[in-house]
Symmetry: C2
């Protein structure tokens, strides 16, 4: 049993052939045509998948199912993009699974989709850093802050498929001069407004940083060169991130916590204060909760997306969507 998993993000789309035990056999990546409209994206994604199907076929492997982890709020029951930011123009409303199924000449039921962070977390829960656990909370800190709570092998998608928006609750750190910092969601004072990657650059400027800092990476570079304001911007973001994840752990009590995303990969300058703040926030009952980096890197969402359409070894074929739809809640 094999499936193709697709990780469709704002800048690139990666896909791969995944075996029934979670092994990624081969993969390919294309730029996402994020300004060209959804038909162009579906065309390009279908071509990407078709190429992998052919490669699999050459290797004697038949693949007839496709799982997608996509940017946006994804209505998993209908396979439609319920809403999305303008990172991909015209993405909201796209009939994602039907569009791919038609282009690939597959039955509509052979293509499933969820939000990419849910796919990411599902991949880690299946074969990554949370493998073997009965519940895990993954929080990703990068361009935005997102997360997913995976319970008994399925991400909790939420009633409106909006579950996992863990960047959009209040953070005491997300204020300046007594006013809450604006958040990209339209609200203010949220975790994402202080703990995302872009928020670090904004904080550097806000705190009076004088060196040119084009992006988050530049602020890390400045901090490494001894710029105290850069170091402070990163430390505050890390503390806000850890406090938020610690609070989420108190609420959800997952078996394991995974922290991922660009900031988690940025080294000890972020990770150490993040984990200190996280542990300071925990209730006594949560002391000792494992906090781990994600293990699958860029392949997590591909593997997790494929998992959507790969039934577990102990389930019959007819039930292959049950874990997903059950968790729709």
């Amino acid at each position: 049993m094999y499936a193709i998993g697709v990780d469709l993000g704002g800048t690139k789309t990666a896909a791969g052939v995944v075996s029934g035990d979670g092994e990624l056999l081969f993969s390919d990546t294309i730029p996402t045509l994020s300004r060209d409209g959804s038909a162009a994206i579906l065309d390009a994604t279908a071509s990407l998948v078709a190429g992998l199907v052919r490669r699999a076929d050459d290797a004697g492997i038949t693949v007839k199912r496709v799982g997608v982890g996509s940017a946006g709020v994804i209505d998993a029951a209908r396979g439609v993009v319920a809403s999305a930011t303008d990172a991909i123009a015209g993405w909201a409303g796209t009939a994602l699974t039907a569009g791919l199924a038609a282009r690939l000449d597959l039955p509509a039921s052979s293509v499933l989709a969820v939000n990419d962070v849910h796919a990411h977390a599902l991949g880690e829960a299946w074969t990554g850093a949370a493998a073997g656990t009965s519940s895990s909370l993954l929080v990703a800190f990068g361009t935005g802050v997102g997360g997913s709570f995976v319970l008994d092998g399925a991400p909790v998608l939420g009633h409106r498929y909006a579950g996992g928006h863990v960047g959009h609750f209040a953070s005491p750190y997300a204020c300046f001069d007594g006013a809450p910092l604006p958040c990209v969601c339209g609200g203010a004072g949220h975790v994402e407004a202080i703990a995302s990657g872009p928020a670090i650059r904004e904080a550097y400027v806000r705190l009076g940083g004088s060196a040119p800092a084009a992006d988050t990476r530049a602020v890390f570079g400045l901090a490494g060169s001894g710029d105290a304001i850069a170091a402070r911007a990163i430390a505050v973001a890390a503390a806000a991130a850890g406090q938020a994840v610690g609070g989420l752990a108190n609420i959800l009590d997952p078996e394991v916590v995974l922290v991922s995303g660009g900031l988690a990969d940025a080294g000890e300058r972020w990770r150490q204060p993040m984990e200190a703040a996280l542990r300071a926030e925990l209730l006594p009952a949560l002391t000792g909760v494992p906090v781990r980096p994600a293990a699958l890197g860029n392949t997590a969402a591909i593997v997790g997306a494929a998992r959507l359409v790969l039934e577990p070894a102990d389930a019959g074929c007819a039930e292959f969507t049950s874990a997903l739809t059950y968790r729709r809640n």
Copy 2:
């Protein structure tokens, strides 16, 4: 099919006979012997249950199962109090279900227990304000702040049975003079430190309130008489409560949100600013999420506790614990 549900709190213990469709037939209440040790509490609770069994028997109803919602973190698999505050002396470590089963001469498997807030939420999800929904988030604001996320008919208990500690994440309101307010959990700056009932009285004093205010109710009375500081203490607590619940809704995306507890019952002075703050916090995808008061009042935890040991109509008897153990995660 009937069962007895027990709501065992720090000050009183209520129990009742509940039918398979969630009707509370009759009930009784005793004071919890919270200073007398766990054996005395188990003795008294068993007597309470035995009295109800006899009453049921007189009415021609046989009851052989007992569900308990208890104060403390309850290890639902073992039926043991994993940890507890000193509201009930010596409660931590108590073999709750085994102790009751032995005293009632029931098989150990006929008695199940969860934390009382989980029982409360389960009752509301079964026959109360969240009946018919596939997911609900209940948050109770009273002596403490607690909650439970009920998914597909079962509360998400958490890996260490500590899930639902929604009073223990950071609130921007929970600080004074630039320092986070101490929280009863040992941490600081948490929602419970500003949004619980006792926190309102503390805020009144902290803000310079000069009238005698023995308890939360007294602060509401003062606010009703035009005391601006009392009104402010309540408004801040309500805003903190609403902001917290709104953030939780963004994270979990429940079908419906229930707000309960003593503060929710205190009228519009708390409810209106709470709901305004809640709605201000919501992501666009969550706009329109129903926010309701709990409907079952004091009986919710009794009904929910009974539900633990009452199988749904479509499940076989042998599976009656499956919904609970499955959700242990």
